[in-house]
Every structure is written in structure tokens, then in C-alpha cells.
């Protein structure tokens, strides 16, 4: 029986994929080598890890406005996270998800970096405000 976790209504399509989780923040400009598809900021907890097709689970958005364009550019090249799950985002990440067609949800009851684990198979339904953990039952 999948675990159902509710959140605020999000943005973008319903998708499924594997979670990559860290108690850290996110900016496409600050943190990523977008050509190689890896976290490049040395101090980031996911430094060196690939984000392509993963469901990124992080605390909050940080920094500047570039992510609003960059998610679209990353999606066009097919090297992009499949979905974004955050505790709470800033406007830029929401704008970027809306423009880039990337699934995004936030505002859960509880800390998403604790609710979800790296390797969880997730189904994210932004329209319903719902995330399912498909591969564990507690």
C-alpha cells in the first residue's frame, strides 16, 4: 500500500521517478553544471551527483532569478530533474516550473527532507497536491 503525503496544490504534470534528497537549498545558477547535469557547487550536499530525471527533494530555493529561464532551457535539452519537491519555494522556482513545464510541489506537513529518502520511488501529482511513495509502506 503506497504511502500518501499531501501538500499544497503545485505546478506541472503528474510524473513518477526516483528521489534524490538533501537538507540543502537550490538554485540552477549557483549549484549546477547544467551541461554535465550534476551539482557543481563544492559546498552543496549533492555535489558531484547527477540530477537528470531524478525527483529532487530539498529545503528551499535560494539566490537569484536565473532559474526561471534555466529550467526551461534544461528541459529543452532533456537534462532536467523530473520533479521538484521542496519545503517552501520562492517565486522564482514557481515561475521557472510554470514556464519550463516541470512538476513542482511544496508546503507539506513536516520536513520533506525527512519525509522522503533518496531512492524512494515517488509519484508526484501537483494538481491534486499529492505525493505517493510507491516502494515502501511505512
Amino acid at each position: 500500500m503506497p504511502i500518501l503525503v499531501r501538500c499544497h496544490k503545485g505546478i506541472g504534470p503528474t510524473v513518477a521517478g526516483t528521489a534524490l534528497v538533501a537538507a540543502d537549498n537550490f538554485s540552477a545558477r549557483y549549484d549546477l553544471d547544467r551541461h554535465r547535469g550534476v551539482f557543481s557547487r563544492p559546498s552543496h550536499k549533492l555535489a558531484g551527483q547527477s540530477y537528470a530525471d531524478r525527483i529532487l527533494v530539498l529545503d528551499t530555493a535560494k539566490g537569484g532569478v536565473a532559474t526561471a529561464w534555466m529550467l526551461h532551457e534544461m528541459a529543452a535539452r532533456g537534462i532536467v530533474p523530473r520533479a521538484l519537491i521542496f519545503n517552501r519555494v520562492n517565486p522564482i522556482l514557481a515561475q521557472g516550473a510554470a514556464f519550463g513545464g516541470v512538476a513542482l510541489v511544496d508546503r507539506f506537513e513536516g520536513d520533506v527532507t525527512q519525509l522522503f529518502r533518496t531512492g524512494d520511488e515517488l509519484r508526484v501529482d501537483p494538481a491534486a497536491g499529492l505525493v505517493e511513495i510507491l516502494n515502501r509502506d511505512r
Binding site: I11, G64, V89, N90, P91
Partner: protein
């Protein structure tokens, strides 16, 4: 969201496909943040550097720009954030003709909307500052936090697509810092130190920003005995926005609004000189070979340009070091006219207009020039540039210049 007749008409495509895209995008964002309705804005400010846009973003802009003129013109004055290429200097920085060609396409597309190519992140110092209570759609975090805090304007961070949408529709969803409830203070800091220069104001912004760590936090800064100038608050605000994603701060008696706490006042966090020293020490690299010094992020005011000129007068930048000074086209023209540009360039430094270093293919520039160690007086830049493969050091203008002349970090 509650829509007016005009907004419904835009959504139905009665005002053309471009405005239908704009309002649809804005509704998606507005509903995500539970916006009740739209609020008219009097300016929009678009960040659209080609590194962020990529080919896909550029094609999107060109697609909209090909619409009939009446359908694509912006409805409120719409200006641009810094670009990635200054056509006069890009070859010296080893940016490529391909990058310049992308830049030219972006400029042509933006002009087709009637966007004014101001290419600046210091529009509040150079173009037209907002007045208190004015609703804006500003697309640069430093511009937003300065305008909201120092001047009392109302803006969220509006990324490129959203700022362009606001220019096209003349409005933005009413959420976040357009609402009084969001502008109440949530955190409290007290200084027992007086920052000595702009790099220390930036360091202070970095400390407070990291401590807050969310767009939705609003810090109050107490204990400031002397009113900081515009450049000091510019560096403080841009660092707050960069390290913490913050969009508003209050300094009682200095910034525009009274600092009203959301609930009972939170505990005070004290920041002393040792906090600033520790922050600077994170980036220290004494005696390291120095590859590039960047003055920018935010672009320099006329007074900062003059300070750089004074520090460089009669000196030569080391052969192994490049010095880049980035400012707005308005200030560059003023600096040309006043002889400041020639004073700076006599040292071997490059004065660029309308660009920002980190918005100009910083990774590719590092690879083409063999750059690694970067020195700057901008706390914002040291925060950003690590992700592009640089090793940054933060110091005053004077120490950056002394180091550039020596070719190593002093």
C-alpha cells in the same frame, strides 16, 4: 484567481496570443501562491541573459516577437537587467562570436516587444527609482530588495518570463511582497560593529541572509548608528538576497517602512566584528596567484567607479591578472565623459558596460582564460561564482587593486 473583464479577455486570446501566454503564465504562478487577484504594475524589469535563456529560451522569445506589433508591445515601461556580452570588450574576455550572436538575437527579440535596453541591475540609482507604495515587477533580486526595503516599493522576485509577462499584461499576481501581511518582520539582528567598506556591508548581508535562509523571512537590523549610503545598502541588500533569497529588510529610522513584527518580537541575534572577520576568512587565500579581479554584481555606481579609478591611478595591473569593472551603460557614458574610464583603462583594467560577470558565460571564460582565483569586493559574487568553478576571495576595493597590481592575493 478573481479576474477582471480585461484579464478574462486576455486569457481568451482576444488581445492576441502573446498576452494570452503572459496572463496564463501569471495565473499559474498566482494560483500556486494563492493570489486573490492581480495588481497593476508601473514598471517591469526583465532578466534575459543568453546563458540562462539558452537556444530554447531564445526561440521562445523570437516566437513571441514574431507576432503582430499591436499584440506584442509591452503595456508599461519595461527595462532589462544586465546582459552577458559587451560587444566592445567580449573578445578581450575571450567570449566567443557565437555568444555574441546569441546576444544580438536576444536584443532584437526584446526590442520587438518595446523593451528599453537599460541592461542594468542598478536602475534605482540610474534609471528611475520607485516611490513608496508603487507596485513593480522587478527581475533582479538586488533591485527588488533595495526597492522594497530602502524605497518602500512592492515587488516580488520576477524571473525573466514572469517580468516579461508583467510588461505585456501591465499587472502581476497579488501575492508575497505585494501584501502588507508579508512585509512584517520575522527576525531580529543587532549590530555591535560598523562595517568599514562595501565588502563588509556585503559580508553582513551574507551573515544575515544565511541566518534567515528563506524568501519569506523579513529581518530587522538594529544598532546602526550612522545612516549607510546607497552603495552600502546596495551591497548589503544584494548579499541578503543572494545568500538568503530575501526580498525585504527593515532598518528602523533608515528604511522606508516601520518594522512591525508578525507576532511578539523574536530573540535578538547580535553580530559583532568577529562575525564579519569569520565570514571574510571563509574566502581568504593569502599569497595565492590571482587570475581575475571583478568589480560588479551589482554594477558600479559613479562613486564606486571613481573609487576604483582613484585606487588604480598611476599603477599597472600585473601581467598575469585581469581586472574587469562592470557598470551600466548610463554610468559608463558618464565615466567616459568624466575621464574615469581612461584613468581605469590606463592601468590595463577593462571597463565593460551593460553586463554582469556571472551572467556572461563565467565557466567558459574561466576555461578560455585559465582563470581560477577570483577576487572581488562583492559578497554576492563570491557566493555565486563557486558553482562556476572559481575560487573566490572577498576584500575591499583597495585590497583588490593592491592584489591585482601584485598579481597575488594580498
Amino acid at each position: 484567481m478573481r479576474l477582471s473583464d480585461e484579464e478574462r479577455a486576455m486569457l481568451a486570446g482576444e488581445l492576441g496570443a502573446v498576452r494570452r501566454w503572459g496572463i496564463s503564465h501569471q495565473i499559474a504562478v498566482g494560483e500556486f501562491f494563492d493570489a486573490a487577484d492581480f495588481v497593476p504594475v508601473s514598471q517591469a524589469h526583465v532578466m534575459a541573459d543568453t546563458e540562462s535563456l539558452g537556444e530554447a529560451g531564445l526561440r521562445f522569445l523570437e516566437g513571441l516577437a514574431a507576432s503582430p506589433e499591436a499584440e506584442r508591445r509591452v503595456r508599461v515601461p519595461t527595462i532589462t537587467d544586465p546582459r552577458g556580452i559587451d560587444f566592445a570588450v567580449y573578445r578581450r574576455l575571450r567570449q566567443t562570436p557565437e555568444m555574441a550572436a546569441l546576444e544580438q538575437r536576444a536584443i532584437e527579440a526584446l526590442r520587438a516587444f518595446g523593451v528599453l535596453m537599460t541592461d542594468t541591475c542598478i536602475n534605482y540609482q540610474t534609471i528611475m527609482a520607485p516611490v513608496r507604495g508603487e507596485h513593480m515587477a522587478y527581475g533582479d533580486t538586488g533591485v527588488v530588495i533595495y526597492s522594497n526595503s530602502v524605497l518602500g516599493a512592492y515587488s516580488n522576485f520576477e524571473g525573466g518570463p514572469s517580468a516579461l509577462a508583467a510588461g505585456l499584461t501591465g499587472r502581476t499576481p497579488r501575492y508575497g511582497y505585494h501584501l502588507e501581511a508579508c512585509r512584517r518582520a520575522t527576525r531580529r539582528f543587532r549590530l555591535t560593529v560598523k562595517p568599514r567598506d562595501l565588502s563588509e556591508w556585503g559580508a553582513l548581508g551574507g551573515i544575515v541572509g544565511e541566518a534567515c535562509g528563506s524568501y519569506w523571512e523579513v529581518p530587522v537590523i538594529e544598532g546602526i548608528e550612522t545612516v549607510p549610503g546607497s552603495d552600502a545598502l546596495k551591497h548589503f541588500g544584494t548579499a541578503l538576497a543572494s545568500f538568503g533569497s530575501l526580498a525585504l529588510f527593515h532598518m528602523p529610522g533608515i528604511t522606508a517602512e516601520d518594522a512591525v513584527f508578525a507576532g511578539s518580537p523574536p530573540a535578538v541575534v547580535t553580530i559583532a566584528q568577529d562575525g564579519i572577520e569569520a565570514f571574510l576568512a571563509r574566502y581568504a587565500a593569502p599569497e595565492d596567484k590571482l587570475d581575475v579581479v571583478v568589480f560588479g554584481a551589482p554594477q558600479l555606481s559613479l562613486f564606486e567607479i571613481e573609487a576604483v579609478a582613484r585606487a588604480l591611478d598611476g599603477r599597472q595591473v600585473h601581467d598575469g591578472t585581469t581586472v574587469i569593472v562592470a557598470t551600466s551603460p548610463e554610468i559608463k557614458h558618464a565615466a567616459d565623459r568624466m575621464g574615469l574610464t581612461s584613468r581605469i583603462e590606463a592601468s590595463g583594467a577593462v571597463v565593460a558596460q551593460g553586463i554582469c560577470f556571472y551572467q556572461g558565460y563565467a565557466r567558459e571564460m574561466a576555461e578560455a582564460n585559465g582563470w581560477s582565483r577570483l577576487m572581488t569586493n562583492s559578497a554576492k559574487l563570491v557566493n555565486i561564482i563557486g558553482g562556476y568553478g572559481y575560487r573566490p576571495t572577498l576584500a575591499s576595493i583597495e585590497r583588490c587593486v593592491d592584489s591585482a597590481v601584485a598579481g597575488r592575493v594580498l
